[in-house]
């Protein structure tokens, strides 16, 4: 099977590659966002924004920094944080890419809720992220999604650059270990 990282690399030239990446992880991201937002509708809209953001930024993804799924869920967590902070679902990336908002009837909402109640296997990733010590999690997210330098990450957490680098690499190692244990 083509790896996630390969799919993202190919997405630059092959439109089907991003579609394959989405079909692999769409349900997991949707389940994660519906559960965490507490709303089927918000979760669904957040999912669209997360994948639109991923597509818009796909050329900035660096496989040597983090596994693709960590990158994807890091984007999801960022959007979720924005949502909790502002109470509104961001739609900038979605609109920028010309992706229409998908209207949902009661039946569609119900299906999304049902889907979210299932234990979708890839959601272990967010559990894995949650399982990290807070400072490692913050460092990983800052590095992988916000693409901060180690200097910046260190300055923000008030630690040395070396310590910041260590937090990122230990966090990623822990994530890789957990993800690698998956069948």
């Amino acid at each position: 099977m083509t790896s996630d990282e390969e799919l993202l690399a190919r997405a630059l030239t092959d439109p089907a590659a991003f579609g394959a990446f989405y079909r692999r992880h769409g349900a997991a991201v949707l389940a994660f966002l519906v559960r965490r937002s507490g709303s089927a509708e918000a979760g669904a809209e957040l999912t669209a924004e997360v994948f639109a953001t991923a597509l818009a930024r796909v050329e900035t993804y660096r496989p040597e920094r983090a596994p693709a799924i960590v990158w994807l869920f890091a984007i999801a967590r960022n959007r979720l944080t924005d949502y909790h902070r502002s109470g509104a679902v961001a739609s900038r990336a979605r609109r920028r890419l010309g992706i229409a908002r998908i209207a949902m009837d009661d039946e569609a909402l119900e299906r999304v809720e049902r889907l979210a109640s299932l234990d979708v296997s890839a959601t272990v990733l967010h559990d894995a992220l949650d399982g990290l010590p807070a400072e490692q999690r913050e460092a990983v997210l800052a590095r992988v999604v916000e693409e901060r330098s180690y200097e910046e990450i260190g300055a923000r957490a008030d630690v040395t650059t070396t310590a910041a680098r260590q937090r990122v690499s230990r966090g990623l190692a822990a994530l890789r270990h957990r993800l690698g244990d998956r069948p």
């Binding site: 092959d14 010309g98 908002r101 998908i102 569609a108 999304v112």
Partner: protein
């Protein structure tokens, strides 16, 4: 019966395809477009060099898909009048220029408008932007856009939409045309990004030489801005091998004017195209020349950039000739070739030898 994840998947597929296509189109157009315009350009050369019957483009290649960028003052979007600020507006891209909708929507949003969605119109060769739907008249009036038309937005049914045409690309636009120094000729005054003004003058176009003014200015981005005017019968111009743009009418311009942004090319070539894109005449060359060029006319014939420099800039620029500063008017009087771009120093080269 619809499933959210499936619907979203289809939307993402389309968005991914658009992005890949956009990347392919810029900087290099799809092979189909190249073939189409190459056929056109060859036709133009045959006409002008030998005087034989012009070759018509092969069937199916009449309208090459190409990137068309003609600027209108969209970079000066005005804030919404009272009552319109909260009306959700859909922005639709009616061209093949990637990101046009998003760029324009950003400008609208910054000016205080409410954007509902950015979508793609099924039509991809719209020339003039327009407003359609409920309340289109008020929006059209506020933004100075025409109203009306029928469009398909691929399953989305916006209540109120601004459909962007080729005139919406915010690269540069013609501010006004004024009479030139030669009888029947005219000067075009342009505004480049960052408000840099640029003026260029040309002679009146004639049936035998349908292109009156052809200027190539280098934009701050490094891309070329190719503009000028041609006879009334010139419906479009071919620029290089890859681009065809429609000409437009503006008061003060003898005939019709054209304006397009392109990637830098090895040589300058502009062909005038009449009804059904029949070649009428051309300037420049498709291939760079090895000849030593000693005049602006020679440079023009050879497709050398120096032959297509704007005649003057109204910006604060110093014209330099043989190491010394020279007044732009003097440079013009002596027929120097001056490469005017956005840099503060403009270098002029030798005048043509006598005779």
């Amino acid at each position: 019966m619809s499933d959210y994840l499936e619907d979203l998947g289809r939307q993402l597929d389309a968005a991914a395809a658009r992005r890949v296509a956009g990347r392919r189109r810029l900087p290099r157009p799809a092979p189909v477009a190249v073939a189409g315009v190459a056929a056109l350009a060859v036709g133009v050369i045959v006409l002008t060099s030998g005087g034989q019957t012009p070759e018509r483009p092969a069937p199916g290649t009449e309208r090459p898909a190409s990137v068309v960028r003609i600027g209108v003052p969209f970079d000066k979007v005005s804030p919404p009048p009272p009552g319109l600020a909260d009306v959700p507006v859909t922005v639709a891209n009616g061209t093949l220029t990637p990101g046009l909708g998003a760029t324009f929507a950003d400008q609208l949003e910054n000016a205080g408008w409410t954007i509902k969605e950015i979508v793609n119109a099924s039509q991809t060769d719209l020339a003039m932007s327009t407003v359609v739907g409920e309340g289109a008249d008020a929006v059209g009036e506020a933004l100075g856009l025409p109203v009306g038309g029928r469009f398909d937005f691929g399953g989305v049914n916006p209540r109120l939409a601004i459909v962007l045409g080729a005139d919406a690309a915010p690269s540069a636009h013609v501010i006004r045309a004024r009479p030139g120094e030669t009888p029947g000729g005219a000067c075009l005054e342009l505004r480049l990004p960052d408000d840099v003004p640029l003026t260029s003058c040309g002679t009146a176009p004639t049936d035998s030489e349908p292109l009156g003014l052809v200027t190539v200015a280098t934009l701050p981005s490094g891309r070329w801005l190719v503009y000028g005017y041609a006879t009334e019968g010139t419906e479009a111009v071919a620029i290089g091998r890859e681009l065809t743009v429609q000409t437009r009418v503006k008061a003060g311009v003898p005939g019709r004017y054209f304006l397009a942004e392109t990637d830098p090319m090895p040589a300058v070539f502009v062909g005038a195209l009449g009804a059904d894109l029949a070649p009428l005449g051309s300037v420049g060359s498709l291939e760079p020349s090895d000849e030593k060029l000693t005049s602006k006319d020679q440079a023009r014939a050879a497709g050398d950039l120096a032959g297509f420099a704007p005649s003057m800039s109204t910006r604060d620029q110093t014209f330099v000739f043989e190491g010394a500063e020279i007044a732009p008017a003097e440079a013009r009087r002596r027929g120097l070739s001056c490469a005017v771009d956005d840099s503060p120093v403009v270098r002029c080269t030798d005048p043509p030898p006598a005779g």
